[in-house]
């Protein structure tokens, strides 16, 4: 059944590539990579937190949205960026905005853990899930008070010129920049988790909290750090979203958060490479669905398709593509 679906999907892609021509198909795929990069930054936050606490941080998408709002404020009010700016000042302003968004969201997410989840650490699993949903509403209301319910428009400061254009396949700078910001952030994450003492503490706490405490690891501090890290990644995602899509609203994070969560489950919840893979797959699916024309459902259907995928994974492969990694599971 599952393999029949995959075959059908591959056939649909191949047929589209034939109908549209290879160059068009590749252009759509490049959009998919860009979407996947933004989703990956958010999906990693779900997976990091789930891996260590087995909690779905429903407020995470809204932390991402706050990252977008912080970035918009930096770009518009602090740096007043626009078409008139030199390349250097754009690069500097984007770099500073990235750091501010990451720091702000890291702090925000760690604070959420401290006030909404930690007091319920020993309560039944449903309790923190409900406060997570509550935190999601709180953040959206804060965003409405801060930025009003309408879309915040950010100027398009990324260059739109082509990096290359080879026989119809064109890659624009704005897409490349999204990927160029994402990759070092991901590499820093891998280094942190694999190589540092703090990363070791995170991995140990995720695998057995009490045993980690017995090794001398301050479990509460490690959990705070994990939330801060997840928030920082979401902050980076928020900046990229504001730069690439140029508009953001209080409910942007709700929708994108659910898509990123699906990506995390698709890759295998708790599994960091899995979250990136899942995000890329979802990014491709969205881009193909919205860009291809031969029997494609179109953008109205994107969310239905993403959630159908969520249901299919939960039924056929609950541990995801690369296998889940939770305190209880393998």
């Amino acid at each position: 059944m599952a393999s029949a679906l995959v075959l059908l999907l591959l056939f649909w892609l191949a047929k589209n590539a034939q109908v549209e021509g290879f160059a068009y198909f590749m252009n759509i795929a490049l959009i998919g990579v860009t979407l996947g990069a933004v989703y990956a930054l958010v999906a990693l936050g779900y997976t990091l937190v789930y891996g260590i606490l087995e909690l779905i941080n429903f407020a995470h998408g809204d932390v991402f949205m706050m990252g977008g709002m912080i970035s918009a404020t930096m770009i518009i009010s602090v740096f007043n960026l626009g078409a008139h700016n030199s390349t250097f000042s754009v690069v500097a302003a984007v770099a500073v905005s990235l750091l501010v968004a990451m720091a702000g969201c890291g702090l925000l997410n760690a604070t959420i853990e401290r006030i909404a989840y930690r007091p319920l650490r020993h309560a039944p699993r449903l309790a923190p899930l409900i406060t997570a949903i509550g935190m999601s509403f709180v953040l959206e209301d804060i965003a409405i008070l801060w930025k009003h319910p309408s879309y915040v428009q950010t100027p398009s400061v990324l260059p739109h010129g082509n990096v290359f254009s080879i026989s119809g396949v064109t890659y624009t700078w704005e897409k490349l920049i999204v990927v160029l910001i994402t990759i070092p952030v991901l590499l820093a994450l891998v280094w942190l988790v694999q190589r540092t003492r703090q990363g070791k503490a995170m991995r140990a706490t995720a695998q057995d909290r009490e045993a980690a405490a017995m090794m001398g690891i301050n479990v509460n501090r490690t959990i705070s750090f994990t939330f801060a890290l997840a928030g920082a990644l979401a902050g980076a995602g928020g900046l990229l979203y504001a730069l690439y899509f140029n508009e953001i609203r209080y409910d942007t994070g709700y929708k994108l958060g659910l898509i990123a969560f699906t990506a995390a489950v698709l890759g295998g919840i708790g599994n960091l490479p899995g979250a990136v893979l899942g995000a890329l797959v979802i990014g491709f699916i969205q881009a193909f669905n919205e860009g291809l024309t031969w029997h494609s459902p179109g953008s109205d259907w994107t969310e239905s398709i993403v959630f159908s995928i969520l249901i299919l994974i939960l039924v056929f492969r609950p541990s995801g593509l690369l296998g889940e990694q939770t305190p209880e599971g393998g």
Binding site: R197, K200, A201, R203, A204, Q207, D208, E210, A211, A212, A213, M214, M215, G216, I217, N218, V219, Q325, G330
Partner: protein, 242 residues
């Protein structure tokens, strides 16, 4: 024995709860410098809970715990290990997705001396050559006996002054049980005091200098190990004699 020497570990009348369930009803025990002390008792008597109270995972509601003269009753678990108490817990509790070597390194997490760590890894591998062969294998895929060795090795990596072992012979083949007990004696000779919880009361009493018998959350009996091994009630209840 010098009467003046304060015990390394002094547990005084602790009462520990799981929610509203009282597991310990006033347990008192001592471990002196250089001793092997064993804690025996039926299932559910409170042996593991006693260790969990000492290592800071379940703070007692009443009573006190003193280690090297310092009150550690309320000290969080991650600080207790820094003071010099390490444990191989019930159920081993290894980090399943880390290799054997990484698990051993985790045991030394609160230490900063790299050279000493390598020395201790070599020492653990000398005690358990089997672990050296398996050092790159994920701990979750080790056999039960290998996991037990890894858990003991991991606790040793903390260079503890007091090593607490919760049923180290659990689930092991007789040949491994012998090996584990030899190791306990060896580690003790190297200067580590040991608090040993065991189902295998006969062997525990052979290696220990003193023992405590726990019954439903209280110390029912305490004596020199040799005396306990002779005690009729103990023989009936724990040494399988009728």
């Amino acid at each position: 024995m010098t009467a003046a020497a304060a015990p390394l570990l002094e547990v005084d009348g602790i009462e520990t709860f799981y929610g509203s369930i009282q597991a310990l009803r006033g347990v008192s025990l001592q471990v002196r410098e250089g001793e092997i002390v064993t804690l025996i008792g039926a299932n559910g008597a409170g042996k593991s809970t006693t260790l969990r109270s000492i290592n800071g995972l379940n703070h007692p509601r009443r009573g006190s715990i003193t280690f090297e003269g310092q009150d550690i009753t309320e000290t969080p678990a991650h600080d207790v290990v820094k003071l010099g108490i390490a444990q191989s817990p019930e159920g081993r509790r290894l980090f399943p997705r880390m290799t054997v070597l990484e698990n051993l390194e985790m045991g030394a997490f609160q230490r900063s001396d790299r050279a000493g760590m390598q020395e201790d890894i070599d020492r653990v591998f000398a005690l358990f050559p089997r672990l050296a062969e398996r050092k790159s294998q994920k701990a979750g895929t080790l056999s039960g006996g290998e996991q037990q060795m890894c858990a003991i090795g991991r606790a040793l990596m903390a260079r503890p002054r007091l090593l607490m072992l919760d049923e180290p012979s659990m689930g092991l083949a007789p040949i491994f049980v012998d090996r584990i007990f030899e190791t306990i004696v060896e580690v003790n000779k190297q200067g580590t005091s040991i608090l040993l919880v065991e189902q295998n009361a006969l062997m525990a009493l052979q290696v220990a200098s003193r023992g405590y018998v726990l019954e439903t959350g209280t110390v029912a009996l305490t004596d020199d190990a040799a005396q306990l091994a002779q005690n009729e009630d103990v023989r009936k209840a724990y040494l399988g004699e009728s």
